[in-house]
């Protein structure tokens, strides 16, 4: 029973996406700029409710519910937005201009993504890769839209 209540509380919290959190982490590679509806970030197997101002880290999975959308800006000033019923995995992100280390590797498992490239796309476009179930998308300096029907 207690467990059921805890789960219920999580579901309720997931619906309140517009709340405000503000903290930075060394591991931060991006920040949630806007979100609405039900949006969850899955990090190391743990679900976190998305909030404006919250950190996005490498290897995060972002899931939106049937009413959920989210906008994120990454450290290289690239922009991500997801439509409802989407699942997005930021598999790898590296932006170290001093060492000239650049990488964005992301996977759209389901739903819709708009991606606007940033500094990595300008400095090292070959290191920007968006994967979809049946292919890989590379891009140079652009605004990309992806729609995946999902399983």
């Amino acid at each position: 029973m207690k467990q059921a209540i805890a789960r219920l509380a999580l579901v309720a919290a997931a619906l309140l996406c517009a709340g405000k959190v503000s903290f930075a982490q060394d591991l931060e590679v991006g920040v949630v700029r806007n979100c609405s509806g039900s949006v969850t970030i899955i990090r190391n197997g743990t679900e976190v409710v998305a909030n404006v101002g919250q950190s996005i880290r490498g290897d995060d999975v972002i899931e939106t519910g049937s009413d959920g959308t989210i906008g994120v800006i990454l450290a290289d000033a690239s922009q991500i937005s997801l439509g409802p019923q989407s699942e997005f995995h930021l598999e790898d992100f590296e932006f170290e201009p001093l060492q000239q280390r650049y990488s964005i590797l992301a996977r759209v498992l389901q739903g819709t993504l708009i991606y606007i490239s940033g500094d990595i796309g300008r400095l090292s476009p070959e290191n920007v890769r968006i994967e979809v179930p049946w292919g890989v998308v590379g891009l140079r300096g652009t605004r990309l839209a992806v729609s995946v029907e999902g399983p």
Binding site: I73, T112, I114, W134, G138, L139, A145, V146
Partner: protein
């Protein structure tokens, strides 16, 4: 209403002149061209059965397509449909329009045109309601084409959007079956489920873009804003012009909820590299202090420096270049 229309049609021989409509220009896009041919074939069948009214109606649809007009699956209100068939036809029309809005006519023109012509044929036969075999034939043609159309649309759509930026933009999609390059705004390819087959780039109409991507587009964040502040040679003193930019920079920061502020210091190539590494860091720190001192509440700043390694204007060593003595601030 049916009677009035029939009388109107009978008075105008031109309206069921198949030869005239057949000679009209074929529409430019594949979907409209295929639909044009199928409407003429339907008209042919009806006129052969001496059903002038429906023959004329299919020809009207073909002629509209030739004129470049969009022709939707026929609306239920246009015909007197038996009440027990209304729900099924309404659901079938909705299903077809949903597939068309997801790019059915663009990515699967043959299946989409067949589904629409068969739907309109089914509507016409259902209104007559006395040839069960014809009704069933049209309905089955619709169902088969619809199933195939939806199967094709299960694939992934990759599109390139207008981004308002100068310079060449391109997207390359690679699968096990090949590769496609998209380089005009609005161009898209459909990646086949499992097979990885790619359609040639096709420009998606605005309403298809909106159906597929509208909600994700609405969720795009306010774009990051970048400011470049310049310094006097060999110092961490901002130029007067750059000092004037500071209020706008602060305005941008306070206008955002929980922003991140990236501050990156740079120098030109006058002086030793080690000196410039230190100077670029001092410049970045000065800008950070300038920002944090004037804001009512703490903000998250991410400070770094590149010394003389990342010039805007590449120069030989020991060349003074005012455009390289700078701090770049990104508010995001």
């Amino acid at each position: 209403m049916g009677l009035a229309l029939a009388v109107g049609v009978a008075g105008c021989a031109e309206r069921y002149d198949i030869a005239r409509v057949r000679a009209l220009p074929v529409p430019a896009d594949d979907f409209s061209a295929l639909l044009f041919a199928q409407y003429i074939a339907l008209a042919d069948d009806e006129i052969a059965e001496v059903d002038w009214r429906d023959g004329a109606r299919f020809l009207e649809r073909a002629e509209a397509l030739s004129n470049g007009q969009a022709v939707e699956p026929e609306e239920l209100d246009n015909r007197e449909i038996p009440p027990d068939s209304v729900a099924n036809l309404a659901a079938s029309r909705f299903r077809l329009i949903s597939a068309l809005l997801r790019g059915g006519g663009i990515f699967a023109p043959a299946e989409a045109a067949t589904a629409q012509a068969a739907f309109d044929c089914w509507m016409q036969e259902q209104e007559e309601n006395f040839q069960p075999r014809d009704i069933g034939a049209c309905q089955n043609r619709y169902l088969a084409a619809m199933a195939r159309l939806e199967e094709i649309l299960e694939g992934d759509v990759i599109a390139i959007l207008e981004d308002g930026r100068a310079g060449q933009s391109a997207v390359e999609v690679v699968t096990s079956a090949g590769a496609v390059v998209l380089n005009t705004p609005g161009a898209a390819t459909l990646v086949g489920d499992v097979t990885g087959t790619l359609t040639d780039p096709r420009v998606l109409p605005a309403e298809v873009m909106e159906t597929l991507f509208g909600e994700a587009i609405d969720a795009e964040p306010t774009p990051p804003e970048r400011f470049v502040l310049y310094f006097e040679e060999g110092t961490n003193d901002l130029t007067p012009a750059s000092l004037d930019l500071v209020p706008a920079l602060l305005q941008e920061i306070v206008g955002r909820e929980s922003p991140r502020i990236d501050i990156v210091g740079h120098t030109d190539r006058v002086g030793p590299e080690a000196f410039n590494a230190t100077l670029s860091r001092r410049r970045a720190d000065v800008v950070r202090a300038l920002i944090t001192d004037q804001l009512p509440q703490p903000v998250v700043t991410i400070v770094s420096s590149s010394g003389e390694q990342d010039p805007i204007v590449p120069t030989a060593d020991e060349v003074a270049e005012p455009l390289n003595r700078r701090v770049e601030v990104t508010v995001r």
